[in-house]
Symmetry: C2
Subunit: 188 residues, 2 copies
């Protein structure tokens, strides 16, 4: 083996860049979030891991709802700002055009290409983070980000994140077809 142990604190390569929306004491708040994943196929559920000190945790506990919003490359500065400044210190309710969906309490961002509206289904506590599991009840987008009625990454231009070097990345070219390329594989 050529590999060596580089320590336990490694990350997923790369992580998505999203904005997590909540309503805290009636005011919309947003934090940058890269620790999230779909966790169930049907019904569609998503898990978001939030550091326990974030104001966002209070918002999710308060309303039992939250949103996941996908910012484009052109929103890098404001997205990073949302990740640097706590809602306890600065009011972030006025920096985006906000809309609400059927749950009424999950603020979503009009400027984002895709907004997922989630109802809290379960909460799991870890030493430093809380994992909130939400059922996606609806998603919102618009024609300019869609192809064949589905979100199209070449129109969304989402950002990626790497840690611990803390850099944002663009999405590159299409490499192939999932559940397709493997047909050509023959075991040696």
């Amino acid at each position: 083996m050529k590999k060596r142990d580089i320590g336990a604190n490694t990350f997923v390569y790369p992580m998505p860049v999203t904005l997590l929306g909540t309503l805290v004491s009636g005011k919309a708040n947003f934090m940058a979030l890269g620790w999230l994943s779909r966790v169930n196929a049907n019904p569609p559920m998503i898990g978001v891991a939030v550091g326990r000190h974030h104001l966002t945790c209070a918002g999710i506990a308060e309303t039992g709802t939250f949103s996941i919003n996908v910012p484009g490359e052109e929103m890098m500065e404001v997205t990073d700002y949302c990740g640097m400044v706590s809602g306890e210190k600065e009011d972030k309710s006025g920096i985006f055009e906000i809309f609400y969906g059927r749950l009424k309490t999950a603020p979503m961002i009009e400027e984002c290409s895709l907004c997922m509206e989630c109802r809290l289904a379960k909460t799991m506590e870890f030493p430093a983070n809380t994992l909130f599991i939400g059922e996606i009840v609806a998603s919102y987008s618009e024609e300019k980000y869609l192809s064949d009625n589905r979100p199209d990454i070449t129109k969304m231009h989402p950002l990626l994140l790497t840690m611990p070097d803390n850099r944002y990345w663009k999405v590159g070219e299409c490499a192939g077809k999932a559940w397709g390329e493997g047909r050509g594989f023959r075991k040696g």
Copy 2:
């Protein structure tokens, strides 16, 4: 609002592409996995959401360990193959050069740029998927994938996945500094 409801079954944009390694009845098995995220900062923990029908679930239950391996672009075909063919039908134990770390039962892939060795900490059942939470006990890489002793995405060349269009993507250019770009933001 210009946006419209496009349905609940939307995904994270984009998802990472990894290979989840387990030992099933003494034989190494690997599946392609895009539904995963870090879930805790310290100790480092990772959550992986696996469809309950996968053989992988039996492997994790059997040993209480698993691995997450990051394939490069050049491994797209074999990675996709691992996602298309169940270990119940085909023996995947011979398609990679395998090594084991301190847990002894989490097979890892020498050809991958980064391998995380995980000890199962918690299991959470959802209707279609099981969410396995693992503590990362060690990670393995080699000099050619590192810069400043950290994994470097420009040397790893990991793949990204989008669903439901089921396509793989390359990582594009660096866009900026996380916890940095936001300093320039001034609220209008």
